[in-house]
Structures are given as structure tokens and as C-alpha cells.
Amino acid sequence: MLKKTCLNSCHIEAGGKMVDFGGWEMPIHYGSQLDEHLWVRASAGMFDVSHMTVIDLVGPDVKPFLRKLLANDVERLKTSGQALYSAMLNPAGGVLDDLIVYRLAEGYRLVVNCATREKDLAWIKACAEAFEVVVATPPNLSILAVQGPSALSVLSSVLDSAQVSLLSRLAVFESGFAGDWFFARTGYTGEQGAEIVLPNADAPGLWQALLASGVRPIGLGARDTLRLEAGMNLYGSDMDEGVSPLACNMAWTVVHNDRDFIGEAAVQAARAARVQPRLIGVMLKERGVLRAQYPVYSGDARVGVLTSGAFSPTLQCGIGFARVSAVTQPLFVEIRGKQLPLEPVSLPFVRHGKPVYSVIS
């Protein structure tokens, strides 16, 4: 029996094609994944991400605990409401999960992936034993992400005045509560927008109000191509427990100081190693589509593999992430036995609806 979010009937009513996504019945699209993608880039779309996991941490030791647990340093969160993207590493320096940590008035909130929920909770609780920290998963919450150039203005037209006032004060990567609704200026599309954590009972009402204001529901298919264009990693595809943050374009999130976080020694050893695989953006120079697991070659030598790939609706070509041992040009991808030229590019591909990549020469 698949788990359902409390917006399940809303998805079906909107024509959602429902699929099994990590044990949850979720919409892959509502008719056209391409149209949904382009709508988010041009207007505003909403994503039910209630399958993701919210973990709240409080207690006298919560800050030292998170400074140990996470590869990014929560010391950087100077005031309540600020947010940080971080990897959570195992002692071998592999990525257990990627997450966003929000500093609350009291304690911190983590939002972690869906498929990693049980593993993450077990790990966090085990690590927390040495600290005075309470780990809680607040029940009966929905999460709705509203993303796109008009996302904030449309939200302002459907929210109450206290909520609008809060949202207008938040900068990117800031968050706060209006009553029991939690607003965060974060997302997974490279567009403006907010993610709203709210009681289940309120979620269908917000959904309907946004729908009536022209916000379209967006399925998991477009969510994937939007995040890929935005240069954002997908856990389980671009990184996992066997991958160093240095090999998945997450080095910028790893902060070394005197605090000694879990996995740090392994990351330092990897930094010292001469050859380090890296994750780069690639574009297909001919017509076609890139897919995860296609091999990448430089001359006769296999130098890596695509970890993600898709047809970019914004750029109208195949794009992907490649984990490569060296960027010795020219690069080729093998598709159905044929080698086709790849262009290595900087990430992200797209921000705020516009191409922003540059070619790596």
C-alpha cells in the first residue's frame, strides 16, 4: 500500500499521473512535463513535497551537535531564520544525505530527503546520544513549494496579512513562522519562490487558492529537469554514501575549522589525493537526450559517467552532470554505441529563466 500525502485527491483532480515514488503515490506529471517545466520558468508552479522529512532538534547541546553532524557549519547561521545547505557525511567521508538546516528561534529544523528518511533518523539519533538533544519528527505536516518568477506575488495575493508581512521580510535562504505555518525562501528550481511547511488540514485550502490564482501543479518529472538546469544535485543519482562531497560539486558546502565534524578526516585525505573525480555540467552538441549512466570518453579512454541527464526544455538540448576523472577535451558521450561530442560547462545551466552557463575551455 503506497503512502499518500494529504494533497493526493488534489493531484488526481488536477489530472496527475500517479506513480510509486519511494513508497509514496506521487504525480509524475499532470499532462505534459515539458509544459510544466516551462510554466515554472515563465510564471509560477506548485510542488507537493510533503513526502520529504522534517526533523526538529532542540536541547542545550543542539548547536555543538549539528557542528559535529554536518559538513557545513551552523555557526554561520547568525540569526534565527537563516538557512544553510549541507551534506551529512559518514565517517568514511561519503554523503549520507544532503539537506537544508534552518535556525529557529529555539533549536534547528532539518529538511531531508524522502528515500533516506529512516536511515537519516537512525543515524541522527545514534549520533545524538552523546549530546543533550531531542530529535523530533513533527507529525501531520505538509510541504508545498511555490516556485517561479511570479511565485512571491501570487503567494502575496492568497495569504493573510501576517503571512504576507513575514514573506516580504524574508531574503533568499531565510525562513520564519507566521502562526503555525513555516515559510522558507528556498527551493529546487533556480527560480524565486518559497517552501511552506503547514498543517495537513490547511494544505488543500492553500492548494486550491493557488490553483485559482493561476499557479499550476508541477509533477516530479519537471521537478527533476528544473533542478538539473539549476545545477542542483539529486541524492541517490549524483551522490550517495560512496561519494565524497568533493566529487559531487559540494566542496563549497564543506567548512573546515577547529570543530572536527563527522567525516572530516576522510575529506581532508581526499583533498590531499592528487587525482580527484569531479562533477561537471555537460551539454550534448548534437540533437538528442542525455541520460544517467551513459559513459563519458576522452579519446579512447573512459573518463567518467553521467550521473544525471535529460533534455533541457529551456536550452532545447541534452544536458547532464558528468563525474569525470579529468576534463581533457574533447569529451564524448556514448549513446547507443555512437560517440557524440559533449561540451563541458559551468553550473548552473539556468537561473531565473535565463541561460547562465559558460563553456569550460
Binding site: 505534459s32 512535463q33 540533437r287 538528442g288 541520460r291 533534455f311
Partner: protein, 131 residues
């Protein structure tokens, strides 16, 4: 419920084949197939003049979801391809039985189409797929 056409024959792999008045065979994919694939973003078509066996992989359709091989329904020679799909692959979604055709064959055997699934067989297969 996906549309089917009665003037074509089908493969279990969801291609359709239509015998034209001039004896050539036009090939495409069914409405059921395009719906299952989702938005089509790229179609790789065969070279004109290529001779193909029944069941041979001759084209590839790539959707937002996956890449799928397209098989020749009968043996013959490729005598034309639908160039419209180069610039407008979404035509496969919009009109799978009409403007979204893939290629035309000169069949080696005029009666070969009789071996393929009838519309009735194909509807039964799709109904089973949906359950």
C-alpha cells in the same frame, strides 16, 4: 482511453503499420505508446534506402522519460522518413496516427501486414496493459 485506428495493423511493441493505396507501408507509434512515453523530445530516424528485416530496430524515440527502440513491422526498404519530427518531435504526441508518422517502407511481401495484430487484438493488449 487511448485512441486506436481500424485502418492499421499493430505490433505488441506499440508500432502501427498502414498499407497505403500505392502498396507502401507507413509506420508510427500508437496513441497508447505516446501517452505512456510522455512528451517526445527527439526522434532518430533511419536512412532512406536502408533495407530492414521484420522486427529490426530501425528508429529511436526519446521522451522526457526514456529512450525506446522502434521496430520495423515488416521486411522491406525504407523509402522515406518524416522530417517534420526533426524540428517538431512533439508531433508524435499531438497526432500519432497522422502527422506524427515515422517512416515509410516498400514491403518485400505485400501480404506481410496480415501477420500483425488486428485493431481488436491490439485493443485487448492495451486493456491488459492498463490493469
Amino acid at each position: 482511453m487511448a485512441e486506436t485506428r481500424d485502418n492499421v495493423r499493430y505490433l505488441a511493441s506499440h508500432e502501427w503499420a498502414r498499407l497505403e493505396a500505392d502498396g507502401t507501408v507507413t509506420v508510427g507509434i500508437s496513441d497508447h505508446a505516446q501517452d505512456a512515453l510522455g512528451d517526445v523530445v527527439f526522434v532518430e530516424l533511419p536512412e532512406t534506402g536502408r533495407s530492414v528485416q521484420a522486427g529490426e530496430e530501425v528508429a529511436v524515440v526519446e521522451s522526457v522519460k526514456a529512450a525506446s527502440d522502434i521496430y520495423a513491422p515488416v521486411a522491406g526498404t525504407v523509402i522515406g522518413v518524416n522530417d517534420v519530427l526533426d524540428a517538431a518531435p512533439e508531433t508524435v504526441n499531438d497526432a500519432p496516427f497522422d502527422e506524427g508518422w515515422f517512416f515509410k517502407l516498400q514491403p518485400a511481401d505485400d501480404n506481410a501486414l496480415n501477420e500483425l495484430l488486428t485493431p481488436e487484438d491490439y485493443r485487448a493488449l492495451c486493456a491488459a496493459d492498463d490493469h
